[in-house]
Amino acid sequence: MSSFYHKHYTILPNDYFNAGSASSDIKKTLKQLKVSKDIIKKVSVASYEAEINVVIHSFGGSVDLHIVNHTLYLQFTDSGPGIDDIELAMKPGYTTASEISRLNGFGAGMGLVNIKASADEMTLISDPNGTILKLKFFLHTEDANEII
């Protein structure tokens, strides 16, 4: 049996009010699909961190959710300014977060580290025109016999 699901979300820059709404909706979708709790948590953590990065560090972008059979893909795309040094950005504690984003609770420099720890696969490419973050998660449901 095969299945396919796709949803696209726009992510606005510096919109602290709606920040996280795409991730919230993605979580609700996974709950409806009866994906197991530990996987929902991993996807939620990675998705929220990535979404917030687009909100606080970029000129804006989007996320696409694809679920194909038992694999979930998230692709975050933004329109710059890009990440100068990806290796440095991946280091725990490294941050360029602004004062305003720190006041909102961000800027620990742990987001990319959390994403890497949560996703089964992660690809990050970036140049001044934008950043693309691709994440892959293998799904299973609470009931192992159930097909998503």
């Binding site: 602290y16 920040a19 991730s23 961190e49 917030i52 609770g105 420099g109």
Partner: protein, 109 residues
């Protein structure tokens, strides 16, 4: 542990979430990435970080209750969002460290 135990300690409640709802254990933190990494679902989150993103994180990682410290007033938009998402919100003027001491002493965590 029931949410009503927090009310009994004198913390102010702001939401209409049932006080019969339960939490287990607590996590203290003011940086959301660290909270996401380390808090466990079901925990009480004790934080000075009183904003909408705190509620968003609570929803995502299944934190049923947030206690804002060093602060009595909670903005209405935070309360509204928490009610909508069924997250309980408490507040106190006390510092996080003193809250934890109290919770341990009363054997709530």
């Amino acid at each position: 542990m029931k949410l009503s135990s927090l009310l009994e300690l004198g913390y102010q409640v702001h939401t209409s979430v049932s006080l019969q709802d339960e939490f287990e254990g607590a996590y203290v933190g003011d940086l959301l990435s660290v909270v996401m990494k380390s808090a466990e679902s079901g925990n009480l989150l004790v934080t000075i970080l009183c904003n909408l993103n705190t509620v968003a994180v609570a929803v995502l990682i299944d934190i049923p209750v947030v206690l804002f410290t060093e602060n009595d007033e909670v903005p209405q938009n935070i309360i509204d969002k928490a009610n909508q998402e069924q997250i309980a919100i408490f507040s106190t003027k006390k510092k996080s460290v003193d809250v934890i001491k109290e919770l341990v002493k009363q054997e709530i965590i």
